[in-house]
Structure formats: structure tokens, C-alpha cells
């Protein structure tokens, strides 16, 4: 089960405080793209939309990402 968009873990993932790696190439690409787009553009609005995009993506691919999701969010 993924945490809600208001959970601070999403910000930590996107600002690199928590380093995440995924086994699904599209997820890796998305996270890298979101992190790049936030460099020098740390407005809350941009951060919120990035969190929404990442969480929506993980929900869609949850069947492929169960072990990654458990590893990253399971013990938070």
C-alpha cells in the first residue's frame, strides 16, 4: 500500500534524501526525469505535481513493482 501524497517520504525520494532504485525501466526514467526537473525549480506546486505523477505511476505498475515498493515504503 502506497502512502498518501501528503506523506513526507515522497519529498525525500524526489529531493534525493532517500535514494531509490527500481527494477522497472519506465519507473527509473520517470523518477530521474522528475528529480532533474526539480533541480532549480523547487516550487511547492511543482513538487506536488511530481509527487502526484510518481504515486499515480507506482499505482499503475504496482503488480510489477511489489518488491521495490515493499523495500522503499514497507518499513517507513
Amino acid at each position: 500500500m502506497l502512502p498518501s501524497e501528503t506523506d513526507p517520504i515522497w519529498t525525500k525520494i524526489l529531493n534525493g534524501e532517500i535514494q531509490c532504485q527500481f527494477s522497472h525501466v519506465g519507473t527509473c526514467m520517470l523518477l530521474a526525469y522528475l528529480k532533474r526537473s526539480l533541480v532549480g525549480n523547487a516550487r511547492q506546486e511543482k513538487l506536488n505535481s511530481s509527487i502526484h505523477d510518481l504515486r499515480t505511476h507506482l499505482l499503475k505498475y504496482e503488480p510489477l513493482l511489489r518488491s521495490d515498493i515493499e523495500r522503499i515504503f514497507g518499513h517507513d
Binding site: 519506465g26 505498475y61 503488480p63 510489477l64
Partner: protein
């Protein structure tokens, strides 16, 4: 699978959606129908020359997938492609190498809304240098049109209990040092920083005697993404690439790969995965001398660029369907 012309025609006439790869002369003889095609001289898993033989390679779309539409996209409509990819399903695309649409996709795709969360897979068509069949082409099956300046796409929908996923196999591994950074996004650069020191990158590559068989690698949160060096020229001071570079990304040189064939075999899934579609880069195919690569579930067109959400270089990519 490799099929004779009459077999391919029969499948098309049955209405089954298929992707076709091989020679343009053969594809011109196919009936109109639910198919897209692209030219390539080589098929992984088949030693024959695909542009001169009397057969074609086909991927038959799985029965659980329903054809939504087959579309063509020119320069003016390319940005519409990701919007047309079904949210629940996948899209197979083919685009001709060295064309404006190819370059535009490479450059713009990373910024298309939703591109990473929709399942877009495919390949870049090509032709053997100097071969009589000429320029790389794609085919739009519903009208039997042959084109050299458009993208063709087959949009397929899946039922709620299935999800499609594009996967990538990259046999290259990065060296630890140096760490290379570029000042701007793009396909051409003059300068780079090497472990923090600014250099003319063409001069640096010349001094290093860089082997263009091996790409630069970037780590995208666990995915090793290659960018192949096209050429470098000390006179102009420019280095050009087959894929886009991004600033704020660390790149490294790839370690030499001595046994491409064995490495590739090691990376292939051993769980009986039968991909809907797979392709391998022509550079890997030639370097690895994969003409005698054993036929497997991963047979497919040898590509001049692989598409897994974005345009990739020097990889194998495949599309699979997974039960939720």
C-alpha cells in the same frame, strides 16, 4: 517468427494485428490490413539477410489485446503520439532512422506528458548501407503505404487484469571514473567536465583514443541508460551523439564488452517469458557477431534505435504482458 509471404498475407487477411520486419520489396506485396512494418537487413535469430530473402519476420499481437487503432504521425502530429497510447494497453511504434521524426522523437519524447507511465515500445527501421532497397522505411498496413518520413503506431488495449511493460537489457557496465557532465541538454557538445575539470570533449576523446563501439552510460535511478557517441571532430571541437544528453546527469564511459553473445544470453529472462515484441540494436548485433544467435523467444528485428518509452541506444528491449 519468420514466415513466408503467403503465410503473412493469410494472417493479415484474417484480421489479426501484426508487426512486420524485413525487406521493403516483400512488404510492398502484402495485402492491406491491420499491420505496421519496418525495414531492416537483419533479424535476431535468423542468419539470412532480411532484405533479400523471400520471407518476413512477424510479431502477432496476443489474443487478449484488442486493436484500438493504427496511426501514422508526421512531424506536425508527433506530439499527439503519447496521448494516443492507451492508458490500459500498449503501443508499438516504428520510425525510420536518420529522419526528422526520428530526431524529433529522440529530443522531445523525454518531455512528453505521461510518456513514462504509458507503455510505448518499438524500434527504428534501417537499411543496409548501399543496398538497392535504399532508404529506411516504415509501412502503414491499413492503406499499404510505404513512407520514409513518418512514424507508424499500433495502439492495443488490454483488459483490466493485465498490464503491459517495456523492459530493457543493457550489457554495458560503467567505469568508476571519470565522471562526465555536460553543460547543456542536446545531441551535440563542445565541452564537458571530467571529474570537475572543464575540457573540450572532442580533444579529450581524441587523447583517450575513445572507441565509439562503446557508449556513455548514465544511471537513471537504477536503469543504466546508454548514449552512443556518433562522432567527434577536433577541428570543429564538436562531439555528436545518437541520443540526447542532459545536464545535471553523471555519465561514465562503458567498460569494454568482450563476449556480447554470452552476456546477452545471461541477461535474458529464464522464466519462460514470451515477449509480445523484442528488438536489439544493430551496433550490439554487429559487435557481438550475433548472426548465429540461437533462435529464442527473443527473436526480433535488429534495430537502428530501440524505443522503451524513450529512444535508447545499444540495448535490447522487449514488451511483455503481466497478470495483475
Amino acid at each position: 517468427m519468420i514466415s513466408r509471404l503467403d503465410e503473412v498475407s493469410s494472417i493479415i487477411n484474417s484480421g489479426t494485428p501484426i508487426m512486420v520486419a524485413g525487406g521493403a520489396d516483400m512488404m510492398r506485396r502484402l495485402p492491406r490490413g491491420n499491420w505496421i512494418g519496418g525495414t531492416t537487413p537483419f533479424i535476431l535469430g535468423s542468419a539470412d539477410n532480411a532484405q533479400t530473402r523471400d520471407s518476413l519476420f512477424i510479431n502477432i499481437m496476443p489474443p487478449e489485446a484488442k486493436l484500438k487503432s493504427i496511426q501514422r504521425y508526421g512531424m506536425g502530429g508527433l506530439h499527439m503520439l503519447p496521448e494516443d497510447v492507451p492508458d490500459k494497453g500498449f503501443t508499438l511504434v516504428i520510425m525510420p532512422t536518420g529522419t526528422l521524426v526520428h530526431q524529433a522523437f529522440a529530443k522531445e519524447a523525454p518531455h512528453y506528458p505521461g510518456i513514462y507511465s504509458k507503455t510505448l515500445s518499438g524500434w527504428v527501421s534501417g537499411s543496409k548501407s548501399g543496398h538497392f532497397s535504399g532508404r529506411p522505411q516504415v509501412f502503414y498496413g491499413p492503406r499499404g503505404h510505404c513512407m520514409d518520413d513518418e512514424v507508424v503506431a499500433m495502439h492495443m488495449e488490454l483488459p483490466e487484469n493485465l498490464v503491459a511493460s517495456v523492459e530493457m537489457i543493457n550489457v554495458f557496465e560503467p567505469e568508476e571514473r571519470p565522471i562526465i557532465r555536460f553543460p547543456n541538454d542536446g545531441f551535440i557538445t563542445t565541452h564537458a567536465t571530467i571529474d570537475g575539470e572543464s575540457v573540450n570533449f572532442a580533444e579529450y576523446l581524441t587523447a583517450r583514443k575513445a572507441n565509439l563501439d562503446y557508449p556513455l552510460l548514465a544511471d537513471y535511478c537504477g536503469a543504466r541508460i546508454n548514449v552512443s557517441i556518433k562522432q567527434y571532430d577536433v577541428a570543429s571541437g564538436q562531439v555528436s551523439f545518437y541520443g540526447p544528453l542532459f545536464r545535471n546527469v553523471d555519465y561514465r564511459f562503458a567498460k569494454p564488452v568482450t563476449d556480447m553473445k554470452q552476456k546477452l544470453m545471461n541477461f535474458l529472462p529464464k522464466d519462460g517469458t514470451r515477449p509480445v515484441f523484442s528488438c536489439i540494436c544493430v551496433s550490439n548485433y554487429m559487435q557481438g557477431m550475433l548472426q548465429d544467435f540461437p533462435s529464442s523467444n527473443f527473436d526480433g528485428p535488429v534495430a537502428y534505435g530501440e524505443i522503451a518509452h524513450l529512444l535508447l541506444n545499444q540495448t535490447m528491449t522487449y514488451l511483455r504482458i503481466v497478470k495483475k
